[in-house]
């Protein structure tokens, strides 16, 4: 048992003197993701969006806490539930809506859609519709940074369902061996689609990275401060050549697995949902704290909400008006 030799992840107390503005900005980001996703749900329910989407509502603090600890040139890889990661990494609402509607102004010229948004300028290497499919890509971006002598880090977001994919273990082994600057962020929202993760996950989550000597911590994914501190600590380690780390963020999706998953009683109770919604909402939690600390007033937060709503409305308007790609684009970008 080499457990004792695994470095311990600190809570990141060195980062505690974060400025009030930074917390307020995180609040804005949380709200932006929430409002964006509500609008996406609306688009689905009113049959204005082609296909489907997996909403991030309830899990916002994970993406925001992690991405606030990153630089613009740091990399992320994302998942089928990826809108939150994109926005937290700085994507524009306009181009995201355009992508969801299959418009040429979208991040992928309408070719990717909800599950494939990539934003190269901000290091977002793309959402991925293969569960666990980006574990190698994130590690490869980290290897690339290491080889180029850059001090970028890469964050690999994935749901706890991805713990079922062997690829993750292959890659964690190499990340540990080569001390790659990659951070695994496991969003444990308790469900793999319609199955509780306890039915699919033997042992504990953190024991898995630890088996490869990768330090791991379980944190409250509904508390953006906890996420931010833990992530900042992992990022510093990775950036200074100390290798990979793993965070298990306990969280919950308030909506269904995807927009059409409406009758959910057969796999989870309404009571469980209500407990999370009322007692563990990441936005309420940050808001109360900000007000408590007197770093924001209820009014200033309302104002942020209103500003965000305007951004969302304008972004959607833009996307609805935007043209579809030209038919000739179907054959473009197959090869570079």
């Amino acid at each position: 048992m080499g457990q004792s030799s695994i470095p311990v992840l600190q809570r990141g107390d060195g980062f505690r003197e974060v400025l009030p503005e930074k917390w307020v900005n995180m609040y804005r980001q949380l709200v932006k993701i929430r409002s964006f996703e509500k609008q996406v749900n609306e688009l689905y329910l009113t049959a204005k969006m082609p296909g489907l989407a997996h909403l991030y509502i309830g899990e916002e603090a994970v993406a925001v806490g992690v991405c606030e600890a990153l630089r613009t040139d740091d990399y992320i890889t994302s998942t089928h539930r990826g809108h939150g990661h994109c926005l937290a990494k700085g994507a524009s609402v306009e181009r995201m809506f355009a992508e969801l509607l299959g418009k040429a102004a979208g991040y992928c010229r309408g070719k990717g859609g909800s599950m494939h948004i990539a934003d190269q300028d901000r290091g977002n290497l793309g959402a991925n519709a293969i569960v666990g499919g980006s574990a190698g890509i994130a590690a490869g971006a980290a290897l690339s940074a290491q080889m180029r002598g850059a001090d970028q880090v890469a964050v690999c977001f994935f749901g706890e369902g991805a713990l079922g994919q062997g690829l993750l273990y292959e890659v964690m082994n190499m990340a540990a061996l080569w001390k790659l600057p990659v951070i695994y962020v496991c969003e444990n929202n308790l469900y793999n689609e319609y199955t509780h993760y306890s039915e699919t996950t033997a042992g504990t989550v953190t024991a898995r990275p630890e088996a490869f000597g990768i330090p791991a911590r379980t944190i409250d994914g509904q508390d953006v401060r906890a996420v931010y501190f833990a992530a900042a600590n992992c990022v510093e380690r990775a950036r200074t050549g100390q290798g990979p780390a793993f965070l298990e963020c306990l969280t919950y999706r308030f909506h269904g697995h995807f927009v059409a998953d409406i009758n959910r009683a057969y796999y989870r109770s309404r009571q469980e949902e209500q407990e999370w919604e009322t007692q563990r909402d990441p936005i309420h939690r940050l808001a109360s704290w900000l007000v408590e600390q007197k770093w924001a007033s209820a009014e200033s937060l309302d104002k942020i909400q209103a500003e965000v709503q305007m951004e969302i409305t304008a972004g959607l308007e833009f996307a609805l008006q935007a043209p579809f790609p030209d038919a000739s684009e179907v054959d473009q970008h197959v090869y570079a």
């Binding site: 296909g51 859609g113 599950m115 293969i130 319609y194 179907v330």
Partner: protein, 336 residues
């Protein structure tokens, strides 16, 4: 044509599949189902709904998201006396099962000199136009068709689906069974109780004398619709569904092409190096002296499936495009 009398009961294709499974599981205690969200959820397409209620979670087994792992487990179960049906949610995920299916399942009987057998079914989907983008829309059945040791089945009607699936389950070899997810709600007559559609017998879905349309899976309906468009302009198309790509009923295909002198092969896999190539070259060789025009191939456009509906709809053959190709082909002056 082996379709039953019109008075028969109608089922959707999903119901026909479910009925085949239920009947086989009742008949043979060795048959079981294994895959992601197959039990209470009955798969996202609800194809397996209700089976767990009758057969219990020991015979309808929910798995972690581990396609390679549970396919391998099925191989081991099959070799030791069980008859597993493995459910792979989207055909795109067979990428993860290739080693277990191709290096293990397909070869064990041969490598063991006939002493071991692998009676298993890999049950999965194909087909685009669901706005699911590049990683959830592929039709990758050509890969398995390439591999000695595997059989490959593609039903096109509820009747065939039930009878073919029962044959596949009773077959002593690994069989890959692909359903177009866009066909699950398609209705058709399905007899109650036991009947088999043998593997390796093509079905003439429509008789005609002017041109042969060989079509697979949902492309059979496309070809039939094309035939309806052609009839008024004096072209009577014969529509043939091979139903199984291996074994392939070459004789029926060649005989039809000899009769009509013209043939189009329509399949939803990528066109290049795909199913249309095999069938076209079988016909071109077998009916060489009777063909009045080159065999035409219509597969999916050779691009990753784009999300935007305006682009995605350009990637698959349609009744109009098939009818147009047939008309052009029929105008070709005979070579002989």
């Amino acid at each position: 044509m082996s379709t039953p009398e019109p008075a028969a009961r109608e089922l959707t294709l999903a119901e026909a599949i479910r009925e085949a499974l239920a009947e086989e599981m009742r008949r043979d205690p060795r048959v079981f189902i294994i895959g992601e969200d197959v039990a209470e959820a009955g798969t996202p397409f609800k194809v397996l709904s209700g089976l767990v209620a009758e057969f219990g979670p020991r015979r309808v087994i929910d798995t972690p998201i581990s396609e390679a792992g549970f396919t391998g487990i099925a191989v081991g179960a099959a070799v030791t006396g069980m008859r597993p049906v493995v459910d792979i949610m989207f055909g795109d995920f067979i990428t993860l099962t290739m080693d277990q299916m191709v290096n293990q399942a397909a070869k064990i009987h041969y490598m063991s000199g006939g002493s071991l057998r692998v009676p298993m079914v890999l049950h999965t989907t194909l087909g685009a136009t669901r706005r699911s983008a590049a990683q959830h829309s592929q039709s990758l059945h050509a890969w398995f068709s390439h591999i000695p040791g595997l059989k490959v089945v593609l039903p096109s009607t509820p009747y065939d689906a039930k009878g073919l699936l029962k044959s596949a389950i009773r077959d002593d070899n690994p069989v890959a069974f692909f359903e177009d997810k866009m066909m699950y709600k398609m209705k058709g007559a399905v007899p109650q109780g036991d009947y088999l559609v043998p593997l390796g017998i093509a079905d003439i879905k429509r008789s005609g004398k002017d041109i042969t349309l060989v079509a697979t899976s949902s492309m059979v309906q496309v070809a039939l619709s094309a035939a309806e468009l052609l009839s008024p302009i004096g072209i009577e198309a014969e529509v043939i569904d091979p139903r199984t790509l291996f074994p392939l009923d070459k004789q029926t295909l060649i005989a039809s092409a000899k009769k009509t002198g013209r043939a189009i092969v329509v399949d939803e896999g990528y066109e290049r190096y795909g199913v249309t190539a095999e069938i076209a070259s079988v016909i071109a060789e077998g009916a060489f002296y009777d063909l009045d025009a080159p065999v035409k191939r219509m597969g999916a456009r050779d691009v990753p499936v784009p999300f935007s509906p305006v682009l995605e709809d350009l990637t698959v053959p349609t009744p109009e495009s098939v009818a147009e190709a047939a008309r052009t082909l029929c105008e070709t002056i005979s070579a002989s």
